[in-house]
């Protein structure tokens, strides 16, 4: 009888250990989000139609819609944190946010610190100047007389440093600052994604103009912390489903009024 009891105890312990081992697999981030019932998303709320505030002071925009969709799909509450070019990655890495949906380009430099999902938007960098400006291309700005404003930690910054290194560069934190500097004539040109530039030029009442030409073709992706590849795979599938179901096309059309270029989906 005693031997049977010991055997039973060992068997249960063995199962218990195995159960623990099985529970270790899986995504810690996803498990925590589901257990808390809340996902914290970092969005950039300083450039419509990507992200901004509506008349009630609530966040709205293309990225915000994606954040709501992600929360809805997981069945959890959403909390949006406003981040900029230089705070979004530290906020992710430190755990303040779970996902970056802040118009972040998935490039190889950042991929050393952040894992990216498949792209949910495609953008290229465009140049914006005052209306009637003599500067039309980035090559024109490669002189110390030309003043250019770029956001810290953006692909616009990388582009200007590479193609117009002699320009006088002014660093700002958010796109709205770039707009103010340009409108006040303190800078001659700004660089940001076409998605932001075209909207801003359109809204400026003729004061600002977007110069033709896309300088890059960038994949805009969701960003997640390294060390949880299962969560990134979930995000890949999530993005893919929104594309294949047509939701991405609908949402893009809602904010830009035109259809997006065809996006790749895997599932």
């Amino acid at each position: 009888m005693k031997k049977l009891a010991i055997l039973l105890a060992l068997l249960l312990a063995f199962c218990g250990l195995n159960a623990a081992a099985l529970a270790e697999g899986g995504s810690p981030t996803l498990d925590k989000i589901l257990a808390d019932g809340k996902i914290v998303v970092g969005c950039s709320l300083s450039g419509m139609p990507i992200g901004g505030y509506d008349e009630n002071g609530d966040p709205c925009g293309y990225d915000v819609d994606w954040a709501h969709k992600l929360a809805e799909t997981l069945g959890v509450d959403l909390e949006i944190v406003d981040v900029n070019g230089d705070t979004r990655i530290p906020a992710l890495v430190s755990g303040q946010i779970d996902v970056i949906i802040a118009n972040i380009t998935g490039n190889l430099t950042r991929a050393q610190t952040v894992d990216f999902s498949i792209p949910y938007l495609r953008a290229g960098i465009k140049m914006m100047t005052q209306a009637g400006s003599k500067y039309h291309a980035i090559a024109d700005l490669n002189t110390p007389d030309a003043k250019v404003a770029v956001g810290r930690g953006t692909t616009g910054e990388d582009l200007v440093l590479k193609n117009a290194p002699s320009a006088s560069i002014t660093y700002v934190d958010v796109f709205t600052d770039q707009q103010i500097l340009l409108e006040q004539g303190r800078v001659d040109a700004v660089f940001e994604d076409s998605t932001l530039i075209d909207y801003a030029a359109g809204q400026s009442g003729g004061k600002l103009e977007a110069q033709d030409g896309l300088y890059t073709s960038d994949p805009i992706c969701l960003g997640a912390r390294k060390g949880d590849i299962e969560f990134v795979r979930y995000l890949d599938m999530f993005v893919s489903w929104q594309i294949s179901s047509g939701w991405q096309r609908e949402t893009y059309h809602k904010w830009w009024g035109v259809d997006p270029s065809a996006m790749v989906y895997i599932w």
Partner: protein, 220 residues
Amino acid sequence: MSYTLNFRVLMQYSGLFIDGVLLTLKICAGSLIIGFLLGSILAVMRQSGSRLARGFAAVWVEVLRNTPFLIQLFFFYYGLPQLGIYVDALTVAIIALGINSSAPNCEVIRSGLMAVKTGYYEASAALGFSRFQTFLHVVLPISLRLAFKPLTSNFVNLVLTSSVCYGITLMEIMGVAKTVSARSNRPFEIYLILLAAYCLFTYAVSFIAKAIDRKIEIKL
């Protein structure tokens, strides 16, 4: 959660950091001069007989002491252009910071002026000094030597407040830190260095100030 400190990766940005420090020093030096001159003028105005001068100086000091510097800075840089007044960022920073520091400086110098007892005025009058001579040779030296220590503490505050100037696109030490942090993804190391740099600078200033103060202090 482990994190490996990596200061070496920041070495490539050392040129930018040095430029940032130099710009901070430039801003602080400029606003120190403006702040001291304005502060002295305001202190004299507040002690003067004219009610207009006293009132103007009082309002000036109260407004500046009761509003945040960041808002004063944004007002000058982003606000004035709407009225058609355009000034470049460095000039705005120096003037705004100088004006901001003129308020505490005024109060400090004023207390120095008030500490000169009537006995000194009587003695000067007895010696045949004019009012201006009294001010120049008796009152001013005494007040400034009394006010020196609090003035240096105001200067230290000025240096710490200058970090806010990155908000008007200046690449002083904080502006450089934010840009380098975005490029290198090392905010912990960068802001640690910044904290150490400010501490070092203010400690050095206080040390020098104490040494000078020991030589020039007077007991009334």
